[in-house]
Symmetry: C2
Subunit: 438 residues, 2 copies
């Protein structure tokens, strides 16, 4: 069988990845607090055979709370617990900070999730870099060296704790009265410069043994951490060339750590507004984000290097403006923005194309998303995508019904889950406790 | 209406509170890892209109793992998340250490539970005193002064974070596009000697505003902490006299903190083996715990102050032994043990009465449990009980069908939930953020 792509879905605040999602028709504006809604969206993604859900986490609240919902779930682990109870196959991945959590607490909650989901848990181990997050813990953000130093120790400790109840330790034999094999339940007695734990953790293996490690980050420190521990990288990149370079950096880092580079998958972000046609997609995006356009025009000016008039949103750029425009080398989105501008779209429509979104944005019919994904995947730039639907209420179904079948038809995406666990879904090799190779 | 008692249920490892529960007929020996089972037992308690479930937590593993299950849930919060999704009315209370958790993390997970359960969450805020627990965090147990110092700060911070999104802050008005009232979302900027947080927490109020504070402990420090913050005390006591004294100490402490003493409820522990008659109860208890009797005889010797012969378990104490016996003043269970011994039961049956259990133990028909509860309750010794069924698989139903109806018949226990939230169930007054009185 030819290689197929992995697709994950971002599941955030209960509304969607675009500002204004909470106000869209059909959306319950109380979904921020609705676990029912999040379970429903997870089920929709599972219907599309997506390999995993990804719940990023701050934890902090920044942004325009007067007009927009916080980005994150109330509590990512509690949300995934609810979703674990309401789904059967899809992987469940949450961000957990190595800087602001005790290893023992991380080990316990993620392995409990792994048990309750029957082997579908993944931990996106990140160091947290926001001072706003640190302040919630009465701290300042440590240096990158200290953060990554602690991250290395924390992941090792957590994996050691996961393995501290040996693979076959849990006997539960009623006949003999033997509950567990004590010889296979051992303290870990590990400690370093930053964290320590005696252990053992008192949780037996899940169907996949232990959770899968994810990482998100782009620095050399991130490459080293992910290369050593991660099976999946949650990437952010705007071009095939950059994606290729990033993917290679992580593969090199894995190899450097003594692992097979195919054990680490690079997954690029993508935002979706799937609609019947481009025009319908743009109109939907305008309804979602139009309120922010006057302010986004200022960004676009910098990206294109020409003055733009926020009061003339419905007009395309003039010939003079297009001729004078120079994509900013500081922003990788600029070339795409200029390309769209040259197609003659109005200022409003240019912005509606998502040229300033956090990830490449598809606004239009499903086939355009499928084409984008095929191009990147076949170029060897990515092992898959994590998509951020604009509005969960109908945007997940739009992707599942409008994009997934095309990818399946083209042989690029599986028609059903091959296995039962997240390890199966992302091709992560069996592991229990610390990987002896790294 | 006359005052009625509160009843909570201990929900531990998935088997029951007695060693050997995991091996009993009808019990799935894999229940330690089964969230389905725990949800089922919670539903049974809810059928009995119990006010809350109580999930204690170590977190550590100590004990005879070769023969017995760990006492605690894999992860109390993940377990309660599953139970929140599978129940409607019963309160959900878990222990969370103030020593080994960051206030921001505690605030977030408990308030998320409160939201997902529609106002049924309670936090048993304890300081943790076991070196085995501390070692899992690479630490030693701090002094009592430091632990309680941190506990006071932590509860205050957590409550401040709970109130940092004001009661009416969440507008979610689609028409006007106003998501929240920024004026009511404020940083807390609190910090003391031990912990600090800037906030705000980004979670709106639940149906009960914020979770209810529980506490468990018996020292003067515990009285002061509970008197200031708690609405329910998870007690441990063996006699009416002691229970009265403990209850009064907590009430005095509440008054000292400027609160109405009726705002704090003292709930005593009770273990149950409910059966058709006393003999059937004793036989059930022997099946559950008989394996431990030879070693428990050694305890009983100390309690009664006479030598006993572990090889003659089936014989009652001799007249000489009974005459020589002196209940140990060090162990409040001793007088009851001697009383049982004098009734002529065999050594095995004496132990099967649960005379060395962690709480007063009822082994026999439901009416005996009801009588015990009525006596204590009407003596003003307790505001209610938290029961620990011997085996969840059938022990919860045995209590619900064998004890609850008698209590209801006698007017001692409600016939249905009066309200929807845990605050309603335990008579805790409305509170949002920090109680201004304390």
């Amino acid at each position: 069988m030819t290689k197929q792509m992995i697709i994950g879905m971002h599941l955030g605040n209960g509304y969607g990845s675009q500002p204004g999602a909470w106000r869209m028709p059909g959306v319950d504006p109380k979904n921020f607090a609705s676990f029912d809604a999040k379970v429903r969206y997870a089920q929709a993604a599972e219907r599309g055979k997506m390999q995993f859900l990804f719940l990023p986490d701050g934890p902090s609240h920044v942004g325009d709370i007067g007009n927009e919902a916080p980005h994150f779930n109330l509590d990512v682990m509690m949300t995934l617990a609810a979703i674990a109870r309401g789904t059967e196959r899809i992987g469940l991945v949450a961000t957990g900070s190595t800087t602001f959590n005790e290893p023992y607490n991380l080990a316990r909650s993620f392995k409990a999730l792994d048990i309750m989901s029957h082997g579908r848990a993944g931990w996106n181990a990140v160091t947290s870099s926001g001072e706003d997050v640190a302040a919630n813990y009465g701290q300042r953000i440590p240096s990158s060296a200290d953060r990554y130093g602690r991250a290395h120790e924390t992941v090792q400790l957590v994996q050691a704790l996961w393995g501290s109840w040996g693979k076959d330790a849990w006997v539960h034999d009623v006949e003999s009265g033997r509950f567990a094999n004590e010889d296979q339940i051992q303290p870990i007695n590990m400690g370093g410069k930053y964290v320590a734990s005696r252990g053992p953790l008192y949780i037996p293996p899940s169907e996949q043994g232990q959770p899968v490690i994810f990482h998100a980050g782009g620095s050399p420190n991130a490459h080293a951490l992910a290369g050593r521990f991660a099976n999946v990288v949650i990437g952010a990149t705007f071009t095939i060339e950059d994606a290729k370079a990033q993917r290679q950096a992580f593969r090199d880092a894995a190899e450097h750590a003594g692992r097979d580079p195919d054990e680490i998958k690079f997954i690029a972000g993508m935002m979706t507004t799937i609609a019947a046609d481009r025009r319908a997609g743009l109109d939907r995006k305008i309804a979602l984000t139009g309120r922010t356009f006057p302010q986004r025009v200022r960004y676009l000016e910098q990206m294109l290097g020409v003055p733009l008039d926020p009061s003339r949103l419905n007009e395309p750029l003039s010939k003079q403006q297009l001729a004078a425009a120079r994509p900013s080398p500081m922003d990788p989105r600029s070339r795409n923005a200029l390309k769209i501008a040259k197609e003659g779209w109005s200022l409003s429509d240019i912005l509606a194309h998502g040229v300033i979104d956090y990830h490449p944005s598809i606004v239009g019919p499903g086939v355009e998303a499928a084409d984008h994904m095929q191009e990147w995947f076949e170029a060897g730039a990515v092992d898959g995508f994590w998509i951020s639907p604009d509005v969960y209420q109908d945007g997940v179904d739009a992707f599942v019904d409008g994009v997934v079948p095309i990818l399946q038809e083209r042989g690029l995406f599986h028609r059903d889950y091959e296995g039962a666990t997240l390890r199966d879904h992302v091709g992560a090799p069996a592991q229990y406790g610390i990987d002896p190779r790294v």
